[in-house]
């Protein structure tokens, strides 16, 4: 018997060790079960002062802040921040993102691009968050926060040009679809790697503080990649230097095929990771537009008042596949999204607006049609500049440009060899 399998004969007073490997409650073919997701009633979680110490609000890292109740009413201390007009804009932005996703998924299936990642079920997180930031603030997003661009009125045509890698692609065909970049819209270039941007956001925020600026940064990460060491580095630096940064964790339950329990381990929640760093940590209903806005505004105010970082876990559910290269029916029950207890963000806000008396089923149907038309118009414009395999393309020269500010001789020689 080899060293690995040998039992230690001397240690008789303890049982043999065994390795714990977490498993989700259910798998394909089983009944969806979210009984382990403990959900506070809307309105019950208190709203502390922004200068609260993290240890005074430990509970907020384990509960879920919610504003919209089952009847569609906004209740509790986190309610009342948004006007009718702002809420209608929020609904429209989420609907636009959903329609945009649907069209681009279809375009991917039609072979117009290689790859796509949608937001279905998670629209409230990025759309509402954007409204808590101001012009000049900077997001360091992952690949599932395009709502930051949509809600900041970044042109959909530009997004599509990037997705199609066409002749008008602002990134000249160099990046995977949806890895947008827009400094002007406070959207840092998406890496495609995971977690690296989290610590970069902290650095950006530190720079703003070094320069006595008023701008703040927002870091984004998913539940799965909180396991990366960069997440830990980011929390250390944010905590040490009290960086004016909002540390966002989007917990959509699934990291491709891996359930959130693998990254979360023994800590009760992802938000709770902030407590050990002395960073105020809150958990929020990510499918509640009003709650997302309220909590992110609270965190933004903390940052602007130089009170330091805030960690927010958005509890949501990835209704769609991870990407167009993924089939979730292989690892989770097909009907799981329907059983998700926090509902659909678009339908919940719609219901609230109807309850407020400023929206109706008819207007919703009409808005859907208008938005679809807007998306299709943008798509037509983008496709006039080409798609991945047809029409206008970026130049082969673009492979060689922009590696450095000034092209070094060896790259110039290679470009010439390529015939350009």
């Amino acid at each position: 018997m080899g060293e690995k399998g040998r039992k230690n004969e001397g240690m008789t007073e303890f049982p043999q060790l065994s390795l714990h490997v977490p498993e989700p409650a259910v798998r394909p073919g089983d009944q969806p079960d979210f009984s382990n997701v403990k959900i506070a009633k809307a309105g019950v979680v208190p709203r502390p002062e922004v200068d609260v110490a993290s240890e005074e609000i430990r509970d907020l890292a384990y509960s879920i802040i919610r504003v919209l109740n089952r009847d569609g009413d906004a209740v509790g201390p986190w309610a009342g921040l948004l006007s009718d007009e702002e809420l209608l804009t929020g609904l429209r932005n989420m609907m636009k993102l959903r329609a945009f996703d649907a069209r681009m998924l279809m375009a991917q299936r039609q072979g117009k691009t290689s790859f796509y990642m949608q937001h279905l079920g998670e629209e409230a997180v990025s759309c509402a968050f954007r409204k808590a930031l101001r012009k000049g603030d900077m997001n360091f997003p992952t690949y599932r926060q395009a709502g930051l661009l949509i809600a900041d009125d970044y042109p959909m045509v530009e997004m599509m040009n990037q997705i199609y890698s066409n002749e008008s692609d602002p990134l000249r065909g160099r990046q995977l679809p949806i890895m947008y970049s827009s400094k002007e819209h406070g959207f840092f270039t998406i890496s495609g790697n995971l977690a690296t941007q989290y610590v970069q956001a902290v650095g950006w925020a530190m720079a703003s503080a070094i320069k006595n600026d008023t701008r703040i940064a927002a870091a984004w990460i998913g539940d799965g990649s909180t396991a990366e060491s960069d997440f830990h580095s980011a929390l250390v630096f944010a905590s040490t230097y009290k960086a004016p940064v909002i540390l966002n964790i989007v917990n959509n339950q699934w990291a491709i095929s891996t359930f959130q329990g693998i990254a979360r381990g023994g800590s009760g929640t992802f938000a709770a990771r902030g407590l050990g760093f002395g960073i105020p940590a809150l958990r929020v209903d990510g499918n509640d537009y009003l709650a997302v806005y309220a909590v992110s505004s609270w965190a933004a105010e903390r940052a602007r008042r130089n009170l330091g970082p805030t960690l927010i876990e958005y509890v949501t559910y990835r209704v769609g596949a991870h990407s167009t290269s993924d089939d979730p029916s292989a690892y989770r029950p097909k009907t799981e999204s329907e059983a998700w207890p926090l509902g659909d963000p678009v339908l919940r806000l719609k219901k609230h607006l109807i309850a407020r008396g400023v929206w109706s089923e008819e207007r919703h149907v009409q808005a859907e049609a208008e938005i679809l038309d807007e998306v299709i118009q943008a798509q037509k414009q983008a496709e006039a500049h080409g798609t991945l395999h047809a029409g206008g393309k970026p130049s082969v020269r673009d492979i060689f440009e922009g590696v450095y500010a000034e092209m070094p001789a060896h790259i110039r020689r290679q470009r010439q060899k390529a015939g350009y």
Partner: protein, 337 residues
């Protein structure tokens, strides 16, 4: 002009840069109050304040990751990795982030950062304080890689690196900090104060990145080296009485290929020297280029003298280090071929 060690020269480069540009910030492990384990940042915190020169947690990915974020904001971070051997936790941030931000965002964001790191052996540092990882950087498109061999170059090149719009890996041969160490470890090293290149202007000047320097003109054989090995090569040529032309590359990426090709075309013989390990080392790239560009001028096979393909040992340091005797034997070998 002042007499400076290489430590004083890199400190002066940071000082001059911080004085001229408020956006230059300096940080790293032990870099703030104490001034760095090699004292390269001594006095900078006292002069420029804690928000422009500060200590960090022991987290290289944090140091480089925050530097990248600061650069995206518009600052020019010049950070210290305490030993080049410690850079690996930051390798993801260096290779997939810093190196590609300009490219992937089509210039929407850029990454003007400098990573200073003491490199190479000769101080009984064992396997975790002696490495020369330059080839791990030269293989990455989007980085610039600089290795100075003396105080004058160190200051001019570091100022150029700080002013460069792209990320620069600045490897400081730690055995050269206090003098032009030529591999004769049994003898005391001549201090920089007695060397021409220890004369350093106190003010601002820069040396363009990408230009090699011929340290010893010669006609018999070209020796290509950088960092500590420049001085080892000079000693070897002298001791062997061989009229070698010694090229100090200074910048590995971009490489001054013209200077290399001109020299080898003239001498017809070439020895490539570095302290880093042999296989897939930086010398392999240079030798391939020499072969491509000078094949019909070569009188002998090109020879490489490098560290052995093993981890850097502790007690057997001087059997590992490619000193003047080994370089001298290689010179004799190419001359006899």
């Amino acid at each position: 002009m002042a007499r400076m060690t290489m430590i004083e020269a890199v400190r002066s480069a940071m000082d001059v840069s911080m004085e001229r540009d408020d956006d230059v910030v300096v940080f790293g492990e032990d870099v703030g109050y104490f001034g760095g384990v090699f004292r390269c940042t001594q006095g900078l915190q006292a002069k420029y304040g804690r928000t422009r020169c500060f200590d960090t947690p022991i987290s290289e990915s944090g140091i480089v990751g925050t530097a990248i974020g600061m650069a995206a904001y518009g600052l020019k971070p010049c950070v210290e990795i305490q030993f080049a051997d410690y850079m690996y936790p930051a390798y993801d941030q260096i290779t997939q982030e810093a190196a590609r931000i300009r490219y992937r965002s089509n210039g929407d964001f850029t990454c003007p950062i400098v990573l200073r790191m003491p490199t190479g052996g000769g101080i009984f540092g064992g396997q975790t304080h002696s490495q020369s990882p330059e080839a791990l950087f030269t293989h990455v498109c989007g980085l610039k890689v600089v290795v100075p061999s003396n105080p004058y170059d160190a200051k001019g090149l570091l100022i150029a690196a700080i002013e460069d719009p792209d990320p620069v890996m600045f490897l400081e041969p730690k055995r050269l900090y206090n003098g032009p160490f030529d591999g004769h470890h049994e003898k005391p090293v001549t201090p920089w104060s007695k060397h021409d290149l220890g004369e350093v202007p106190e003010g601002h000047y820069s040396i363009p990145i990408g230009k090699a320097e011929i340290r010893r003109p010669g006609s018999a054989v070209t020796v290509i080296a950088y960092g500590t090995m420049v001085h080892v090569a000079l000693a070897a040529a002298e001791e062997m009485g061989i009229d070698a032309e010694v090229i100090d590359l200074r910048s590995l990426l971009p490489l001054d290929l013209d200077t290399v090709v001109q020299s080898v075309t003239k001498t017809g013989r070439c020895v490539m020297v570095h302290e880093a390990t042999l296989t897939s080392g930086y010398g392999a790239e240079v030798v391939a280029l020499v072969q491509e560009h000078c094949f019909y001028h070569l009188e002998a096979p090109v020879v490489r003298v490098t560290g052995w393909d093993t981890p850097y040992p502790h007690a057997q340091e001087w059997d590992y280090f490619p000193g003047p005797a080994r370089v001298g034997r290689a010179l004799a070998e190419v001359m006899e071929a």
